[in-house]
């Protein structure tokens, strides 16, 4: 742990403002409703995971019992309780992705990164995890990396993606190596062509 990380957690001025913005969305006295966005904000500020100290800080900030914040933080899988790598690679393993080759994608990730599920690479660049349905079945198989979805993956395209990320190159979210826009059919629209034509 670095010296900076050992310092007591407190919002940065920008995050303080964001936190207040989240709280302002709810009626007065219902500030506790903002617990989820605040946990997320704190997780980002802390470099990817929440700690007991953060849980208590947010409990205090929202005037909640710490156990209630802890319940939320442990219930949702998007909150990490251990340090993670710079990029969090979350491979969807639920049935539609699995049918479309998620296992091969996972295997490629493991082989390329040299780690198992739940582990972080030695250089701290990647953490690999399997998640339940990411909700993008139409573009299966799907991998969520940090805040973006990368879709229609194959073992080759996912490795290419990981290589780019490792080098710090820009990557484009969405379908990879397939000629389609978002979840539109491959090769372009088959209906409403006029409508789509303008900005397709």
């Amino acid at each position: 742990m670095t010296a900076a990380a050992q310092e007591a957690f407190a919002w940065t001025p920008e995050n303080e403002a964001t936190a207040q913005k989240h709280i302002a969305k709810y009626p007065a006295g219902r500030q506790q409703s903002a617990v989820m966005p605040l946990l997320d904000l704190a997780q980002r500020q802390n470099g990817g995971h929440v700690t007991q100290e953060i849980i208590e800080y947010i409990a205090d900030y929202l005037d909640m019992a710490p156990i209630k914040v802890m319940e939320v933080a442990t219930f949702y899988t998007m909150y990490n309780h251990k340090p993670i790598g710079k990029h969090h690679v979350q491979v969807c393993g639920t049935t539609p992705c699995w049918l479309r080759g998620a296992e091969d994608v996972m295997h490629a990730c493991k082989k390329h990164l040299g780690i198992e599920k739940g582990q972080t690479t030695a250089d701290g660049m990647f953490t690999l995890n399997e998640v339940e349905c990411a909700g993008a079945c139409v573009n299966a198989p799907v991998v969520a990396i940090d805040d973006d979805y990368f879709e229609d993956l194959t073992p080759e395209t996912v490795v290419e993606l990981l290589n780019k990320l490792a080098k710090g190159e820009a990557v484009k979210p969405g379908p990879q190596g397939v000629n389609r826009k978002n979840s539109a059919p491959e090769g372009g629209p088959t209906t409403l062509k006029d409508f789509m034509g303008e900005d397709a």
Binding site: M64, A65, I67, M70, E71, F75
Partner: protein, 683 residues
């Protein structure tokens, strides 16, 4: 008022009633785990599924409001199958360790599996295992057995008012815990043991000491505080194995405090089980005859006005009356019950009871506490105040030391002289009284034991007279800390100058002999110069300067009459015999009266109680909230500025039984955070 049909029977219920409650009203049993009358509805165990016509699938009856024209079936094939299915799911991860589980024999899951289960499981995979959690010295945990009904979590948040318990993680990984595995910071924590429908949370002190079917349940009344919680004393042979609450909606609902529940080990420790007589400055064992003889010699030639008596906080009315009669026979009327020096008088009964009743607080819309900390003095009553604050719109204000009472309290400082302003109708407090329809004022012993206690009592009385006493409503109340106190006041056991005058006279040599009936809460060193006859149960403060010790019976060892703080007369039952030579207190006094040549005119409990009814007419009506006529009491005087000190220093140490209890010592250490780390061998 919706009318619905349940198993062919029509029933009309209050709006807002659930289907499950409607079923109960006509005696149809619906199995359940998560549903509990006194907690919010969770609907997560699914055991209460019933069939509703026009519904494509069974409904959870605990969470479904009863509606007009509903047709409910609880005995169809589909309901049977649904219950079997839920039970099979619940048992997927529940260990079949009933033979080594303390809940065995009184387990909801066991009973309902027998009544509603299939008897076999199709699941052969490994069961999940959960690490046990440390929850302090009172609650033993076996978290693998938990079925996640969340009753304990809801209890701690809703009833106890301490947000310390929660369920972490999700799905199959769900685990119930206290935050960071700390001791539950509540005086009511033991109730989660009763609430747990399985063997996940059990009593740590009781662990593996008895089986439920070996126990005899004796219905009795608690004397740890002045609430008079109704209890079941569970006895095996001659030992009290545990104490559990008994339902009484008007008194304790179905809760008891941790002191009530766990004090029983103090009944076995430091007991006086034989008589002692002080010879050559040391206490020596004696027979009853020798002890009585010694008393006779000491009282020889002593005039009536040279004798006084002090009765303790757990004395039953029978013993107190026998002592009063004996004192009268010896020529003295100086018998005092107010050990803490509370400036109460006995002229008007309404002046020393909680007139509206404990349950009355649920009707009130404003409550002013004066020098009272109900959380420490009467935790069960405190949970009722909390309930009224949470659900019934009660507002609470406090004049006295500010404490965390688990609900919102508007603090007005601890200066009692504020009451004078209220009386004049000035200030925010007076406005609150004026605005309230059913206001209450509760005066605690912390205020009454002050020098100006009588003036505070008078001021509170006048405030009550002005705002709180109306047609059909008397909002004046005194919250007592001692179980014996109201009974003693009913017997008029008050003296001029109170206990301070007795102790001063003892020191000045004006008294020659003092009888002490289980009183240990005053400075007994002041009795060093007089002949002290101590009748009591424990080797506590009272015996240090005693010259003759007569071993008495504790509250579990005699049938005694007690009056709680609301003036309700209740009777304890004898659960076990007193240890060794110890005898029931009134029989000691009756036997002693014989030796002293002033035989008391009753030979059995029935005769004594007949006498009691003539002296204290209230005792003719058991378990009734008696209306007391309003009157004038207290003494007008100056209320001095300055803080009100709390009446109870340590909730867990208020009487000799609690001080002898190791469990009480353990819980004090645990709540102070001074406890060894939990290890693998912790129960």
């Amino acid at each position: 008022m919706p009318t619905l049909t349940i198993d062919g029977k029509q029933v009309t219920v209050e709006p807002g009633t659930t289907v499950l409650q409607a079923c109960e009203e006509i005696g149809v049993e619906v199995p359940r785990f998560c549903y509990h009358e006194r907690l919010s509805i969770a609907g997560n165990c699914r055991m209460c599924l019933v069939d509703m016509e026009k519904s494509p699938k069974p409904i959870a009856s605990c969470a479904m409001p009863a509606g007009e024209g509903m047709v409910i079936h609880t005995n169809t094939e589909r309901v049977k199958k649904a219950r079997e299915g839920v039970m099979e799911f619940l048992l997927i991860n529940h260990p079949l360790d009933c033979p080594i589980c303390d809940q065995g024999g009184e387990c909801d899951l066991q009973d309902e599996a027998m009544a509603f289960g299939r008897g076999a499981s199709r699941y052969d995979e490994n069961k999940r295992a959960v690490e046990d959690k440390y929850m302090g010295p009172l609650i033993a945990t076996t978290m693998t057995r938990c079925i996640h009904c969340m009753r304990c979590v809801r209890f701690s948040e809703e009833v106890a008012g301490v947000d310390d318990m929660g369920s972490l993680w999700r799905g199959e990984h769900t685990e119930i815990t206290t935050y960071l595995e700390k001791t539950l910071d509540s005086e009511m924590s033991g109730n989660v043991i009763d609430l747990c429908p399985v063997g996940a949370l059990t009593s740590k002190p009781y662990a593996f000491t008895a089986r439920s079917w070996e126990l005899k349940h004796i219905e009795s009344v608690d004397v740890m505080d002045a609430v008079g919680s109704n209890i079941n004393i569970d006895v095996r042979g001659s030992a009290v194995m545990r104490i559990k609450p008994r339902l009484n909606e008007d008194v304790n609902e179905e809760w008891i405090s941790d002191k009530t529940r766990f004090v029983y080990d103090g009944l076995r420790k430091r007991r006086l089980d034989r008589a002692y007589v002080r010879k050559n400055k040391t206490l020596q064992e004696a027979t009853w005859a020798e002890a009585f003889d010694a008393i006779k010699k000491k009282l020889k030639g002593v005039k009536g006005d040279e004798i006084a008596a002090i009765v303790g906080d757990m004395a039953d009315m029978e013993s107190m009356l026998a002592l009063k009669d004996l004192m009268a026979a010896l020529g003295s009327s100086r018998i005092e019950s107010r050990q803490d020096g509370a400036k109460l008088d006995t002229a008007v009964r309404a002046g020393y009871i909680l007139n509206a009743g404990l349950a009355g607080v649920e009707e009130a819309d404003f409550l002013l506490l004066v020098g009272s900390n109900p959380r420490a003095e009467a935790p069960v009553f405190n949970t009722r105040i909390r309930k009224a604050v949470r659900h019934l719109g009660l507002k609470v204000a406090n004049v006295g030391s500010a404490e965390d009472l688990t609900y919102k309290v508007q603090e007005f400082g601890d200066d009692a002289s504020l009451l004078e302003a209220v009386l004049k109708g000035k200030g925010e407090l007076a406005d609150a009284f004026k605005a309230a329809e059913k206001p209450m004022i509760i005066v605690g012993q912390g205020a009454l034991k002050r020098e100006d206690g009588a003036a505070i009592l008078k001021a509170a009385r006048d405030i009550a007279d002005k705002y709180c006493v109306k047609d059909g409503w008397n909002g004046f109340g005194v919250l007592h800390t001692a179980a014996a106190r109201v009974g003693a006041l009913d017997l008029d056991l008050v003296t001029e100058g109170g206990i301070d005058a007795i102790l001063a006279d003892a020191e000045a040599g004006k008294l020659k002999a003092v009888f002490v009936l289980g009183a240990d809460e005053f400075d007994t060193a002041k009795l060093a110069g007089v002949d002290t006859i101590y009748i009591g149960t424990h080797g506590d403060a009272g015996v240090t300067n005693a010259d003759v010790i007569l071993p008495g019976a504790a509250y579990t060892e005699k049938s005694g009459t007690y009056v709680n703080t609301e003036g309700r007369v209740q009777r304890t039952e004898k659960a076990t015999f007193a240890p060794g030579e110890a005898r029931e207190d009134w029989t000691i006094l009756r036997a002693l009266s014989d030796v002293l040549g002033h035989t008391l005119p009753y030979n059995n409990l029935a005769e004594l109680r007949a006498r009691l009814e003539t002296v204290a007419p209230a005792t003719t009506q058991l378990d009734e909230l008696l209306q007391a006529p309003w009157g004038d009491f207290g003494t007008k005087g100056k209320i001095s500025a300055g803080g009100i000190a709390p009446a109870v220093d340590n909730f867990y140490l208020t009487n000799p039984i609690a001080r002898a209890s190791e469990i009480m010592a353990d819980i004090i250490a645990a709540r102070a955070g001074d406890v060894e780390e939990a290890t693998g061998t912790h129960g």
